[in-house]
């Protein structure tokens, strides 16, 4: 087991290094940089090119690519993710400001996706091939096909139409400062993201439930006189959840994309919107830093999931 974890950790370090290299090369392959984007909008003529050159020198963008790469990697290995060209704040500070907002929305999205998918997955499996199964599966298939922003638009139309509450809450409250307002702000994007994530979970859970329900131990449980719901929850669901846990990494990875779209759409100042805005401004260090942080989290989640899985199912460890 220790061997397995060490091997996986080393592999993850390698993957993260590749990710950092890719994001570095990717950003530096872009035709325009921050100096150009910023100064082109304020100056014209000969003074413009001069100013761009000056700004490049100041930001270190005039050095050869390999020097920039080495210093980038050197800083990265010390845990320094660079400073924003625009605000001059360090990436850690910028991300730290927004991480709670993103986590609030992300955790709420994840909870909603589970709250939607687990009951629906169970019902759809135990009522296999009845009208309710067809209906729920239809909803899930539709949920996979609908982009998050379309779901969000339909939801906000419904909220506005029935005059339920104000979506665009001023002041961007947190759950611990003003829970009601925060709930109103986050609920529409969270449901939109939750449907997209939950639909995938539901399909896997359903097929796993069907598989598990055919096993001998389910028949045993039934034959010793357990109630149906007890068989479904305590015996079937527990075993069917394992593969669902393994796709958690994928679910969360999909969530990140949704988060970028939804935060931008609803003007929520989280990491997703920050990331998108930094790329548009060509403000490389915070963009690279945020991407590396996100990938680090995803890779770590995957590792934890795999360790839990190997711990729960000893057969995995051998392969």
């Amino acid at each position: 087991m220790t061997n397995y974890i060490i091997r996986r950790l080393l592999l993850n370090v390698l993957v993260l290094w590749l990710v950092a290299t890719m994001v570095f090369l990717g950003t530096h392959a872009l035709p325009s940089d921050f100096a150009q984007k910023r100064i082109a909008s304020t100056m014209t003529g000969a003074s413009q090119t001069e100013a761009i050159e000056l700004a490049r020198k100041e930001l270190g963008l005039d050095k050869p690519l390999w020097r920039q790469y080495l210093s980038f990697m050197g800083e990265l290995s010390r845990g320094d993710l660079g400073h924003s060209y625009e605000s001059k704040l360090s990436t850690w500070t910028e991300v730290g400001r927004r991480v709670t907002t993103t986590l609030e929305l992300g955790i709420m999205t994840l909870l909603i996706s589970f709250a939607i998918s687990i009951p629906i997955g169970i019902i759809s499996a135990v009522k296999q091939n009845t009208w309710i199964d067809y209906l729920l599966r239809g909803v899930a298939i539709l949920g996979v096909a609908m982009p998050v922003f379309v779901v969000a638009i339909f939801l906000s139309l419904a909220v506005v139409k029935f005059d339920l509450f104000q979506i665009d809450v001023l002041g961007r409250p947190h759950f611990w400062t003003d829970p009601v307002k925060a709930f109103q702000l986050y609920i529409v994007p969270a449901i939109a993201g939750g449907i997209a994530g939950g639909a995938g979970i539901m399909r896997i859970l359903r097929s796993q439930m069907l598989e598990v329900m055919r096993q001998d131990y389910i028949r045993t449980a039934r034959s010793k006189g357990l109630r149906d719901d007890s068989v479904w929850i305590r015996h079937a669901l527990k075993n069917a959840m394992l593969p669902v846990i393994t796709v958690m990494g994928l679910t969360i990875s999909g969530l990140v994309g949704g988060q970028i779209i939804l935060e931008t759409m609803f003007n929520i100042d989280g990491m997703g919107r920050f990331l998108f805005a930094r790329l548009n401004l060509r403000d490389f260090p915070p963009f690279q830093g945020t991407v590396i942080i996100i990938c680090f989290v995803l890779v770590t989640v995957n590792l934890i999931v795999d360790i839990i899985y190997a711990w729960l199912d000893p057969r995995i460890r051998l392969t």
Binding site: T27, F149, I204, G257, I260, T264
Partner: protein, 330 residues
């Protein structure tokens, strides 16, 4: 053959009969398949419908998707001086844009958008773009992915290890971030670049699936046999391994078209879609400016995305189920 047919009319009739019988058998099998997998059949019908729209878009579009409709301004006063116009802006312009015309009129079947452009024409031309992007990205992903997956799985060893780590790294990125980064290579992303970016994302998935098929096929006896009579690596790969992984290749091709259309819609929605082209994602976004009063543009284009992705997903699932029964129902 034509000589025989000419000499013996009976034989020609027999041939025709044979052909008709084959056609009937194919039809019957198709119907059986459709009956077995009703959802898949629905998906295939949707896909055919969308492909039809995409193919015939210029003929059924009615108007150009970029044409801005306007009407003569009855209150236009050509002799008005700037001071008058400042007081009453209505008299300044000779034409006014037909903004936000209601849907279901005979002139604009689905109404007009905030720039006075016909929404029906835009949805139809958006279908063509969605198909080009989805299918184009899938073709790119499958060709590159199959080639790399084939080589990586066949030769295994260090090369395979390296390829797998690169694929890991690509997949460690959240897809949308990678797409955003790639299309930003141009300030105004072209259609080709969009297809390339989506295809690159799909490349990683294709490599992974094709490689795992190649790994099993490479172990089989007929590859061993081919090697024993002296066939070269290239010949074994092309003549023996590739035909046996074609099922996976076809699955990869058909199953991800919907995902590409979805991803492109997200890019377009964020304003990173192909420049100067009408896409559904852009329409959803541009409809948001007046969502409370004129929700039609966003609702119609959003439904179009959903329908197209739904069709391609269901058809892809059906193709996978037919080709690989092990995966059925997953």
């Amino acid at each position: 053959m034509s000589q025989i047919e000419a000499a013996n009319p009976l034989a020609a009739g027999g041939l025709q009969f044979e052909r008709r019988r084959k056609f009937r058998r194919a039809m019957r099998q198709t119907l059986l398949m459709a009956n077995r997998n009703k959802l898949g059949a629905f998906g295939v019908i949707l896909v055919i419908f969308i492909l039809g729209i995409a193919l015939f878009a210029p003929w059924i579009q009615r108007y150009d998707d970029l044409e801005q409709f306007q009407t003569a301004n009855p209150r236009f006063n050509p002799t008005a001086n700037p001071l008058d116009i400042a007081q009453d802006p209505d008299i300044g312009a000779p034409f006014t844009l037909d903004r936000w015309e209601n849907p279901l009129s005979s002139k604009h079947w689905l109404g007009t958008d905030s720039y006075g452009r016909d929404i029906y024409a835009r949805v139809i031309s958006g279908a063509r773009l969605a198909v080009i992007i989805g299918v184009g990205a899938s073709i790119f992903a499958v060709i590159t992915g199959t080639l790399v997956g084939l080589i990586s799985g066949y030769f295994a060893g260090k090369l395979d290890l390296f390829t797998q780590r690169v694929v890991d790294a690509i997949q460690a990125f959240p897809g949308l971030v990678l797409l955003m980064l790639i299309v930003s290579v141009m300030d105004q992303p072209s259609l080709f670049l969009t297809v390339l970016a989506l295809g690159f994302l799909g490349f990683a998935v294709s490599v992974r699936i094709v490689r795992s098929s190649v790994l099993t096929v490479s172990q089989s006896a007929f590859v061993e046999a081919a090697r024993s009579y002296g066939a070269g690596d290239w010949r074994i790969m092309m003549r023996h391994v590739l035909p046996n992984v074609l099922a996976s290749v076809l699955i990869v091709f058909s199953i991800s078209i919907g995902a590409y259309i979805l991803a492109e819609a997200s890019l377009s929605f964020l304003g990173l879609g192909p420049a100067d082209k009408t896409t559904w994602g852009k329409m959803v976004n541009s409809g948001r400016v007046a969502l409370d009063l004129h929700p039609w543009e966003s609702v119609i284009s959003g439904s179009a995305i959903t329908l197209a992705v739904l069709g391609f997903n269901l058809a892809g699932d059906a193709i996978r189920d037919e080709l690989d029964p092990r995966l059925r129902g997953r």
